[in-house]
Every structure is written in C-alpha cells, then in structure tokens.
C-alpha cells in the first residue's frame, strides 16, 4: 500500500466483496460489479421527490386498504364480508394467535412502518430539515427490508378468490382496489428511495469527526 486509503473514494460489492473506485454516476445510471454482476451503486432519478410522493400516496391509502372490506361471499342466502383488519380480529377471536400475529406483522405492521418511515425520511430531505437522529432512523429502516409481504398477500387474495368462485357468489369491494393501489404505492416508495444518496447526504451533514480522523491516522500507520 503506497498511498493512504481514502475510504470515501472506494466502494465494495456487497455480494462478492470486490473493491472498486467509487464511480461518478449521473441520475439514472447504475454500476455493475464485473465479477459477480450485481449492482454496485445506482443513482435514481429524482429520488427524494418521487419517493416522497409515492409514500404520501401510500400513507393516504393505508386506512382504506386496511379497513374497507376486500371481498364478500354470499352462500345459502347469507352475506359475509371481510377487510384486512377483520381478518386479524376473526383470527384472534377463533384462537389462531400465531397466524393472526404473523398476518398483522407481514401484511400490516411492516408495510405501514416502512411507508411512514419513508415519508418521514423524505419529508426531512425535501424540506432540508436534516437532523442527526435520521442516521439511526434510516439504519433501523434497513432491518425491515425483507419482511414486507404485501405482494404475497395480494397473490393470496387472488388464489382464495379463485377458490371461492367455485362454489359461492363472490363480490369484490372497494377495499380490494385500495389494497392494490396501496401495494403499488408502497412498492414504488421503497424502490424509488435512493439509499446511497441518502447515506451520502447524511454523512456530509453529520460527519463523525473523531472516527474520520482516527481513520486517516491509522492509514498512515499502516502504509
């Protein structure tokens, strides 16, 4: 190692650990790893604005999607309909606590927290009100990456509709429409959120001085 390493100019592939110089990307460009082909870094177009709008839409759609009845059945003259929230109440009522809590977590709690989180974060970016607590906030936000299962729940709705269509009279309600729109807006809100950009901005605004200084010292000592 001849020259001291400046970790700000380096980037590593998160799938195979290959080390690269940090590419300068324009909006809409992305860099791929030459070894394993996964995406190294990308700059998303107009990320904050788009993510803010999608997450605002998502937050507005949240209540109708959860509370309005998704579908109803008519069987032997009886009509019965259920919303996402009813689903959990009924499951608790009948003693299936484990699926009740899982449906609550994966289909309501995690998507809601992610949406509100994205809205909170992009709101502070949009109106230039950055504060240090956003660092911890965004770090916690990453923990929920894998656990939102709205898309799976949507497929579950389709499958059970198909199943019920066989021997009952099925009616689709407004809840289904708002659920689909909620699904779309929450997916878009998280996919338009440019994480690299947000981290870069947060780092510029709240540098961790003693850490950075000791980094440079250490590099000199190593070289």
């Amino acid at each position: 190692m001849d020259k001291p390493l400046n970790t700000k100019l380096l980037i590593a592939c998160r799938q195979c650990d290959a080390l690269y110089d940090k590419p300068l990307l324009k909006q809409g460009q992305s860099a791929k790893c030459t070894r394993c082909g996964s995406i190294l870094a990308e700059r998303k177009v107009n990320s904050i604005e788009r993510s803010f709008n999608w997450s605002l839409a998502g937050v507005l759609l949240m209540l109708p999607a959860i509370l309005l009845p998704i579908m109803g059945v008519t069987l032997a003259g009886q009509f019965h309909q259920a919303s996402l929230f009813d689903c959990i109440l009924v499951l608790i009522d009948r003693g299936f606590f484990m699926i009740a809590s899982l449906v609550f977590l994966f289909a309501i709690a995690v998507p809601v927290v992610r949406l509100v989180g994205a809205l909170y974060l992009t709101y502070h970016f949009k109106f230039k009100k950055l504060k240090p607590s956003l660092l911890n906030f965004f770090r916690a936000y990453h923990h929920l990456d894998n656990w939102a299962m709205l898309n799976v729940f949507m497929l579950g709705i389709v499958v059970s509709m198909y199943k019920l269509l066989d021997d009952t009279e099925l009616s689709v309600n407004l809840g289904l429409l708002s659920f689909i729109l909620w699904l779309i807006s929450s997916t878009m809100a998280s996919s338009t959120l440019d994480q690299d950009y947000i981290w870069d901005k947060l780092e510029q605004n709240f540098p961790n001085e003693n850490h950075v200084a000791s980094d440079v010292d250490n590099d000199h000592a190593n070289s």
């Binding site: 190692m1 390493l5 380096l10 290959a18 009886q78 770090r139 059970s160 199943k163 981290w199 190593n222």
Partner: protein
C-alpha cells in the same frame, strides 16, 4: 478460454477483505477494519467483516426449518366444517382436491409455493453451506446466482398461510360452512420464517473468499 479469463479475474480481483477494509451491511460504506465488530463511521452501526458465524447460523436455521417442515405436511392445515361435519385437509391433500375440481392453475401455484419453494430453499442452502465449507466444485458465479434466487423466493411460501387466513375470515357462515386452520399452519409458518432467517444469515461473499483461497493453494 472463458474459464481461464474468469479464473484470472478472480485471482487478480482486489477485495475489501484483502485490503483490510470492510463493508458496512447497512449503509454500504467502506470502513477500515480495526476491530471486530467494527463501528461504521457513517451510520454508527456495529458490524463484522463477514456475517457473524454465517455458515453455522445458516445450517442451524436450516435444520430447524427442515424439522418444522415434517409436521407441517403431516398435520391438517385446513379444516372445513360443512353442516357441522369436519373435513380435514393437509397441504398435499388440499392440492389433490384442487386437481379433482379441475382448478389446475391454483394447484400449480399452491404446490409451487408450499412444497417446492421450501424444499428448494432448504436443499439449496444445505448445498451452498456444504460447498462453501469444503470448497469442492465451488463455482461462485453460479452459486451466488442460486443464492439470489433462494433469497427472492423466501417470502412467497407464506402464500398458503395467507390463503388459509383469508378463508378462515371470509367463509364464516355459522353452522352452514366455516373454515378453521389446522395445527400444520403453525409449523408451516415456522418453516418459512426459519428458511428466511437461514437465507439472511448466509453470506455470499464467503463463496468468493473460499474460491480465491483454494486457487492460491493450488498455485503454491
């Protein structure tokens, strides 16, 4: 020729680990590694250079998933009461019923989501951990792609659980027809969650580490 150039690429590739650096898994910032766990200079989170005890955790969660998958298939997953008479159905017999009724697309979707996907995940992660541990016939290119597919498939096996939950809620017409969830649903959700933990704790960078290690050994 292609394999030669690939081998060269793997040999010459500079990795963060060789340079004494480490990537923060949360914010993707390259840090100088001074301690394990290292505190990230950007997001202040603590992390290890590789996921901590990755192979052990993957294997442990995987065995747990496999164990939970057995009762998930033996016990009934859904009980349909028609005029007070219960009719139990396991995952497989439910699929058989769909085929009898001629609902082939659903039969295929449910079969894929609740039998094939968990099995593929469990077997795939066993193979990945074994190959990474021994380094025998390890092709990081191919195997990291396999890992991505496994990671992506994870949540989709929750499908059956959601379907049962919806059926229990909607088909609730008192004495005439009602649906209850069977004990298998708990084991099945456990299987899915365990496989997701298992896939999360596997570190694909270990594939490349092992590969470059074994290559160096051969050369020496």
């Amino acid at each position: 020729m292609k394999t030669m150039s690939q081998a060269m690429l793997i040999m010459t590739m500079q990795t963060a680990k060789k340079t004494g650096l480490a990537l923060c898994p949360k914010c993707q910032k390259v840090n100088v590694l001074k301690a394990q766990p290292q505190q990230c200079t950007r997001c202040h989170g603590k992390f290890y250079q590789r996921k901590y005890n990755s192979l052990q955790y993957t294997l442990a969660w995987n065995i747990a998933a496999l164990l939970a998958f057995i009762p998930a298939n033996l016990y009934p997953i859904m009980i349909v009461y028609q005029l007070g008479i219960p009719k139990e159905a396991t995952i497989l017999s439910g699929i058989g019923e769909f085929i009898d009724h001629g609902l082939y697309p659903i039969a295929v979707i449910i079969f894929a989501a609740s039998i094939i996907v968990p099995l593929i995940k469990i077997i795939g992660l066993f193979v990945l951990t074994y190959r990474t541990y021994t380094g025998i016939r390890l092709k990081p290119n191919k195997h990291s792609r396999v890992y991505h597919i496994l990671e992506f498939l994870g949540p989709w096996s929750m499908l059956d659980v959601f379907v049962v939950a919806l059926m229990v809620t909607i088909v609730e017409l008192g004495f005439v027809t009602s649906v209850a969830a069977g004990p298998a649903i708990n084991y099945f959700t456990l299987t899915v969650i365990f496989t997701m933990f298992s896939a999360n704790s596997f570190d694909p960078r270990l594939l490349w580490d092992k590969r470059s290690e074994t290559n160096i050994d051969k050369k020496v």
